[in-house]
Subunit: 240 residues, 2 copies
């Protein structure tokens, strides 16, 4: 499965407004919560709202890391490619999540970031964040908390999405996606992306999702790319 499509540079970028920040899903959690908030009026000059198209690459592994990103809506995959060229998704970022934190301490990005479907994010220059270090005593705490969340996510991929049979993994993935949307519905990624997420082949991913549909564990939603879940059924599958 060699890297097929790569879409770059067609993002729409615009300055962030106070209204954007008021509606920011990372408001109450991430780097910019609490005391830091007061200073945002000043910081916002550096912020940019970036809109990315499905399958579009935001940045590639090794690119110079200047920005940290906050998800406003949509889903991004953080990917690594093997020597053979096939991809492995090492993390997902959804609404409210922060990624690209390596920009704070390293020169280049550690992953390739690609949009799964339409997505919008807030682009924050690393320099702006680092500049706050002195004035905000709780800054360190906040950065560490966000990084710990990243580590938690990495562990989850390892323990939940890389062990057990294919049915189990797909069930866990769907429940994971639905949970972070806070509903009983979620995006059903393309089959090859499910494969890259779970370490299985596209064909197996297809077989499993087709079975799930036939047995009623998933049902088509309004948006054709989304599905409604049978939470109890999938949950029992996920544990076994």
């Amino acid at each position: 499965m060699t890297n097929p499509r790569r879409i770059i540079g067609i993002q729409k970028v615009r300055p962030a407004t106070a209204g954007d920040c008021a509606a920011c899903p990372a408001e109450s959690v991430g780097l910019f919560s609490g005391a830091f908030r007061r200073q945002r009026a000043y910081l916002i000059d550096g912020f940019r709202i970036v809109q990315v198209a499905p399958q579009e690459t935001l940045y590639g592994l090794g690119d110079t890391a200047e920005y940290v990103f906050l998800m406003r809506y949509g889903l991004m995959k953080l990917v690594r490619y093997s020597a053979a060229g096939d991809e492995r998704i090492v993390r997902l970022a959804g609404k409210g999540d922060t990624f690209g934190l390596e920009a704070l301490s390293a020169k280049s990005y550690r992953h390739t970031a690609v949009a799964l479907g339409e997505a919008a994010l807030c682009r924050v220059p690393a320099q702006v964040i680092l500049g706050q270090e002195k004035s905000d005593p709780r800054f360190v705490e906040r950065v560490m908390t966000v990084m710990q969340a990243e580590l938690d996510s990495a562990d989850l991929f390892l323990t939940e999405l890389s062990t057990g049979g294919a049915h189990t993994r797909v069930a866990r993935l769907l429940l994971y996606l639905a949970e972070r949307e806070g509903g009983r519905e979620c995006l059903l990624p393309m089959r090859d992306e499910i494969g890259a997420l779970l370490g299985i082949t596209m064909e197996t991913a297809s077989r499993v999702t087709a079975e799930f549909r036939r047995s009623g564990l998933i049902r088509p939603a309004a948006d054709p790319q989304r599905v409604a879940l049978d939470l109890p059924g999938l949950t029992s599958l996920a544990s076994g």
Copy 2:
């Protein structure tokens, strides 16, 4: 594979001396390098050298997190258990590595830490580290760098040790272990631990290591628990 042995509380603990620090393998890299070094004479009062026996549990998931640890020698595994009770190793810490960093920002540990063989570490109270924040301007940078190293390690487990066939994974594991010892020799963990590391069964791990021995890819070393590696042979296996 239900959690069998659990050894706790038999560690030997003693205060650290200036000599310990002089010989510290984390000297040039981790949290305490560079400028921070000057202050160590003062900090050292809080440091403790901990010696753990093989299979001994240093701390468990959910335990109150008060300390950060630096490896002096040996190997620790950081583990999570599934609902079914079988374990998955999510990270390895070797000489010079830092772990338990969640003590800096969270209340409890995120893993269970168990020694693979005899090991010694330096136990540092999180409060001591946090207390340095104000006096050391480069503190944040250092913490972030160490956390990024943890994330790198997590990604490596995902991309290298959780994909490909059993032979490939075992080869990669052995090369990984040897590389961080800087030689062509490494510890050969127990078969069930290899299984927990790579997401395969103990039997498969045994079959693969037995084949490797027969084909000369690994040879017994002086220490019966260690093996010498055929680096070129294993490397070619690791990529395929």
